[in-house]
């Protein structure tokens, strides 16, 4: 630590606070670190000689958690200890919390996503982003929908119908890869452990064969609905579907996105369907605007997906794929998402059109990562997917 190149203020609190400050600096740069890592870092430094190379390598081993962190670490290290530039936070003695997001709108209601906020895309162009890209199928409706109340879009009757559909879809989507066997009288496999224990009472003759089988596991569904301008026509069935899904499946997760991503799971779980829609209307400010699918999916992949999406999950994206951002962002987001091990379904209302081909750059970039690409424009279409989902 001594001989560090950065000159710290005279009232600096000593090496321990400086390390804590560095951890806070890493956090501000998107590293996912907690108090435990700081403790480990201090323990590591206590066990090592205090030259720069050792300190750098030790902190690298402690603070990094994935290949991306590993590649970035040296630059972040230099920027803090060598005043190399992007110092966002000062050494602060109480470095318990991550730095607040740069943009106050990033608070996103109560979408309690812990870290990762620093990765949130820049939302400075929220209102006027329909200016770019080809996401303007129905350009004339964009403006007046900007302030439209969601209650006009979805009615409680819709939600009840959607609930039934969502329930059936949820049952169709079963994960058959469970490894934990469960006792079952008609199971396919013999449970030797129980059989032998039972055999003890019959003098060692395994008279009764205990059986087990692998139970089906329900999957966790995360549904992301595009509510940008080009999707206005389809918002009604999809939002109803989301609301129904939330009611039918206690483990499902719902998100809206247009130019940014909003988690609406909690809002949709509201007992009163109307109040739920009210709450979403408040959350989904900018409804009907432009779309930045790549950015929204990337945000999802780096924040919520880390907590909610795993190998047993199904991520359902309901969007037309018209993205106003370059397609490489979409590609990166989809790659990141598919690394979570989940299955990804993309339901595109346009696919039902005659001669539709996924030529929109964003859509084409996403195609290789999809497990199912299907058309869905109405609730009936969604219900009809049951067969296909069961086959996944």
């Amino acid at each position: 630590m001594r001989g560090g190149v950065t000159r710290f203020a005279a009232r600096d609190d000593g090496p321990m606070a400086r390390v804590a400050g560095f951890m806070a600096h890493l956090r501000a740069n998107g590293f996912r670190l907690g108090i435990a890592e700081t403790e480990t870092a201090l323990a590591a430094l206590a066990a090592l000689p205090a030259d720069e190379a050792s300190v750098r390598r030790a902190l690298k081993a402690v603070a990094c958690g994935c290949a991306e962190d590993w590649a970035r670490f040296d630059a972040v290290f230099d920027s803090y200890w060598r005043n190399g530039g992007r110092v966002r936070t000062k050494a602060m003695p109480s470095a318990g919390r991550p730095a607040p997001p740069r943009n106050s709108r990033g608070a996103e209601g109560r979408s309690e996503s812990g870290g990762g906020k620093a990765d949130a895309p820049d939302r400075s162009t929220d209102g006027d982003s329909e200016a770019g890209g080809e996401g303007r199928l129905i350009a004339s409706t964009i403006r007046n929908l900007m302030k439209r109340d969601l209650r006009e879009v979805v009615s409680p009757e819709d939600i009840r119908a959607a609930e039934r559909v969502a329930l059936r879809l949820g049952q169709a989507l079963r994960d058959r890869r469970s490894r934990r066997a469960r006792a079952d009288r008609r199971g396919a496999r013999i449970d030797l452990r129980r059989t032998i224990r039972a055999a003890l009472s019959t003098g060692g003759e395994p008279l009764r064969l205990a059986r087990k089988r692998r139970p089906d596991r329900p999957v966790r569904i995360s549904a992301l609905v595009d509510v940008s301008g080009s999707m206005t026509l389809y918002a009604r069935p999809f939002l109803a579907f989301l609301a129904g899904l939330m009611r039918a499946d206690a483990r499902a997760d719902a998100y809206l996105f247009h130019t940014r991503l909003v988690r609406i799971t909690e809002a949709l779980r509201d007992d009163d369907p109307l109040r739920a829609l009210n709450r979403i209307t408040l959350l989904a400010d900018g409804f009907g605007g432009g779309s930045r699918i790549g950015a929204a999916l990337d945000q999802f992949a780096t924040t919520h997906a880390r907590r909610f999406v795993n190998g047993r999950s199904v991520v359902m994206i309901l969007s037309d794929g018209y993205d106003s951002a370059p397609s490489d962002q979409m590609e990166q987001a989809m790659a990141r998402l598919s690394r979570r091990g989940c299955r990804i379904l993309w339901l595109n209302p346009l696919k039902g059109w005659r001669d539709y081909a996924p030529v929109a750059a964003g859509m084409a970039a996403a195609m290789p990562y999809l497990d199912l690409f299907a058309s869905a424009a109405t609730l009936d279409d969604l219900a009809a997917l049951e067969q296909e989902l069961a086959r996944l």
Partner: protein
């Protein structure tokens, strides 16, 4: 310095570790934390554990993960066949009830699998949990439990606490993301393909028979090959095979005989597409540049 001593010890075992990796290993040993190694296939992640075990003079216990790995293969299993036989034997001998049961579910009839074996060693072993990304999340969660407490509960026997704490190394090829909980429990090192100097050192450590000039050519050629657009980039092990093949075929210079070079490429390129992509001309161009 301590981590450099470790580096030297590993080098004596024929493993050339970069400073970052050596530091991570050293810290893992000092702090008693598991070490997660990530990197492409063939960069020598698994080899680290072997070299470390050899350097420390302790046992290497390896758990190869795969999809569907369950507790019976990772932790323990009762030896059912022996149990069945024992029940009959005891019945003939007239023993009954509680005595038989107590004996049947004793350590004699327990088959230790790697995780249980690792915590019951008299000398702390190196526990290698290979390709953890292939196991499913449930197993990952279970592993977390074992790695934090170092104890395993067997209903019939009770809780078995570790006699020694194994040095745990996990490897991952990055086929899926690991849980944050697991990542946070571990120290981390990303292992990359070695730079030319390191790779040459590896080659000289493992294949002392290969001459200095040819060695440099081989390393240059393989490094150039990795920059080509390949489906499967050749790893360090492939490079060593390649060197051994060239030595066996009696080639003293890469550019000497295109046919032999092309034949030896079988050790480096493992897919049809890659074989087709690296034609004789391409191989000669790369070899010419490496020479």
């Amino acid at each position: 310095m301590a981590f450099e001593r470790l580096q030297a010890e590993l080098a004596r075992q024929g493993y050339v570790a970069g400073p970052d990796l050596a530091m991570a290993l050293h810290l893992a040993l000092v702090l008693g934390r598991p070490l997660l190694l990530e990197g492409a296939a063939g960069v020598g992640k698994t080899e680290v554990a072997r070299a470390l075990a050899a350097a420390k003079g302790c046992e290497l216990i390896r758990l190869q993960c795969y999809e569907g790995l369950d507790a019976a293969q990772a932790i323990y299993e009762w030896n059912y066949q022996r149990q069945l036989l024992a029940i009959r034997a005891h019945a003939e001998a007239g023993e009954t009830g509680a005595a038989v049961e107590a004996r049947l579910f004793s350590a004699d009839y327990l088959l230790e699998r790697p995780l249980l074996r690792a915590i019951r060693q008299p000398v702390a072993p190196v526990l290698l949990i290979d390709e953890i990304d292939r196991a499913d999340e449930e197993f990952e969660a279970y592993l977390l439990e074992v790695l934090s407490d170092f104890q395993i509960t067997i209903p019939e026997l009770g809780t078995i606490t570790a006699t020694t704490r194994p040095m745990v190394i996990l490897t991952s090829n990055g086929t899926r993301d690991l849980s944050d909980a697991l990542r946070r429990r571990c120290l981390y090192a990303h292992v990359d393909y070695p730079d030319p100097a390191t790779e040459l050192a590896i080659l000289q450590a493992r294949c002392p028979g290969v001459g200095q000039a040819l060695g440099r050519q081989i390393v240059g050629f393989v490094q150039a090959l990795r920059r080509e657009d390949l489906e499967k980039k050749p790893g360090v092990a492939e490079m060593l095979d390649f060197a051994a093949a060239l030595a066996g075929l009696g080639l003293a210079d890469l550019t000497d005989d295109p046919a032999i070079l092309q034949a030896a490429l079988a050790t480096l390129l493992k897919t049809q597409g890659d074989r087709a992509g690296i034609t004789t001309e391409v191989a000669q161009r790369l070899a010419g540049r490496a020479a």
